[in-house]
Symmetry: C2
């Protein structure tokens, strides 16, 4: 966890200690983006890249694991808040954030995933963050079921996976090179709402058993 | 590329040289699954794990890059062939393969993705394989548009991404811990066909411009 000084009266802009925190976190992310593995990452290199002394880094983070963990959360950004308009509009806004073309995240996350999977504490922190964002999207889906904007029998968990999966793969891996970026979230939400069946589709099967 | 001996009359079962190829490829995948990075992987270690001499490995693969490249393709398996039944049945069968619970692939692919992204030749080989499988799925989608089983205005590329994305994330990363594995492909295809809109959904917007 980073330690931020709290002051009664702050000068305009972000306080200096927050700017130092950001410089250090940015240094971590830059080094990883350039190919440094988490294993090889040293607090010395981070301090040098951030332009601060090593003691400044250690004053804020007790060890490399805590620093990398904060860097991952910083990379992901804040958990978004839906505006509470139509479910369609909220889903488009949320999925746009999931798939936000963030070049640094796109470059770094594939490098970090193996590390995240190997490190239980880091994995838990990452998953906690993901789970918070998922819960925001689930809430919108539940609201849609309540208002009748969505199918009353909607499988919330499956809809969540179907909506976020393609956005995640595009932002983290540019998975589908032929998929245009323009209005991707909007097109996906509209396809999901309307379905892809055509006029000659057989009647939908009833809810399957087992 | 591996070199396979061709013989006019083969004994029953796979020929011995193919079995040696498999043992070597398996050794590569095992070592990676156990945490060896591609960088640290040595032909010596591969030979030792496979129980063959180093010369046997080098007779089949000129270098580590070629061997790892073949191992990745072996891990992915054959490109599937749809049975040509209903589009719904074909999509379910193909997506079941995409999401096949392959523990080894699930363990290895996250470790390999950064390596694949760093190595242009390996990335190309991997993407060529992915593209072949995607083309099989696109063909089924195009067929469905032709028969009227699917929306005549279907965005093939977007539908491909929406159908495969959640399956890929589940098989490679177990992305959604709360999503049950049972009939996942079937449930996803049926949700995509029918759509998720409810009785109070506003009319679908027309095709957006720009």
């Amino acid at each position: 966890m980073s330690t931020r000084e709290s002051t009664a009266a702050r000068p305009p802009g972000r306080p200096r200690s927050a700017r130092v925190d950001e410089a250090i976190v940015d240094a971590v992310l830059d080094l990883i983006a350039e190919g440094t593995t988490v294993e090889a990452l040293s607090m010395d290199a981070v301090a040098a890249r951030a332009g601060v002394g090593k003691a400044t880094v250690y004053r804020r983070w007790a060890n490399k694991e805590a620093l990398v963990s904060d860097a991952v959360v910083a990379l992901k950004g804040d958990v978004p808040t839906p505006r509470g308009e139509s479910v369609r509009a909220d889903l488009i806004a949320l999925l746009t954030l999931v798939g936000r073309a963030n070049n640094r995240a796109g470059q770094i996350m594939p490098c970090l995933m193996p590390e995240i999977k190997r490190n239980p504490a880091l994995y838990q922190r990452y998953m906690d963050w993901m789970e918070k964002r998922r819960e925001v999207i689930r809430d919108v889906l539940r609201r849609g079921v309540g208002t009748g904007e969505l199918d009353p029998d909607l499988d919330i968990e499956l809809a969540l996976a179907a909506l976020t999966g393609p956005m995640t793969l595009q932002s983290a891996f540019r998975w589908h090179p032929h998929l245009p970026k323009e209005r991707l979230a909007e097109r996906l939400v509209d396809m999901m709402l309307a379905g892809i069946a055509g006029p000659a589709a057989p009647a939908a099967p009833g809810p399957a058993t087992a």
